[in-house]
Symmetry: C2
Subunit: 190 residues, 2 copies
Amino acid sequence: MEALNKMIQEHGRAIGNDIIKVDSFLNHRIDTPLLFDMGRSLACYFAPFKPEIVLTIEASGIALAITTAHALGDIPVIFAKKSNVVNKFSDMVQAEVRSFTRRDVHSVGVERTYIPVNSRVLIVDDFLADGCAAEALISIVEQTHSKLVGIGIGIEKNFQQGAKKLRDKGMNLFSLAIIDAIEDGQIVCR
Amino acid sequence: MEALNKMIQEHGRAIGNDIIKVDSFLNHRIDTPLLFDMGRSLACYFAPFKPEIVLTIEASGIALAITTAHALGDIPVIFAKKSNVVNKFSDMVQAEVRSFTRRDVHSVGVERTYIPVNSRVLIVDDFLADGCAAEALISIVEQTHSKLVGIGIGIEKNFQQGAKKLRDKGMNLFSLAIIDAIEDGQIVCR
């Protein structure tokens, strides 16, 4: 996606060999017109697969999930929540996720009744790095006996393992921008 | 807001005397058409105050902030992040927030450069209970020397202290739904 690649080149920052900071437009400060463009682009690709629910994970996946769901005809969004809240859910489907940037492991969950059996689910997230968040969401889809129609990503870091793992499993993965490498502090977009 | 009150009455659930669970349509599963209606309603009220930035807090404030910013002409959204991330920001403005539902205290922060001095900031959040999240965001606005033009809330729990504290300070507070009490397990909307 042209506008996103341009934004990454102009405003993205590489930290070391593996972290890409895009929080001036995507996951801290949000460029709202770009976010809606991104949602339309994901919706355009995934509409033929007829998703009924967009599933994402808090926190930074929520924004792109909303605009994608809007462009898909205002279908509902569900975001998996980190655990340990006082008002516990009655029947939670849970999965473990290791955060690449936070370097921790935590559990995320979705109230089972919000993903009906056989519903057609599209997973959306802002980033795909080592794929742990996506795998947790896939596990939630499996545990709810719903149907995964695809995985839509804002920025894919192709030099990490996530994208390869998901494509090797035959997943219908579509990323709006693909970063092939960080070379001498420069972000190399495909 | 009629549609929101109706949704609270039909799908909200009271837990004990103080917790209202609206996660079937607002902060876990999101009813996308309602969310966009809510954003339009907040924008309609706050547009005359000419906000330039919507400021919210992760995670559940993000969705309403996005639709409000969209309805205000696609102005940028900034969400305050919980701390302890590995890719530390360079110049963070921070504030403490006590979570009512999680019963913990944590620090949230915003990269200073994302809120320019004198910019006109609208705070948006899904819930207003004891007002701790709003106070943390107000502190961030003050520390960045920007101008707070108002506070837009999805659901105000008027029987807790937050709304009173903010109105006593003369804040331009506008809530789409106001809950006056939980009586015998019933949610009483104004």
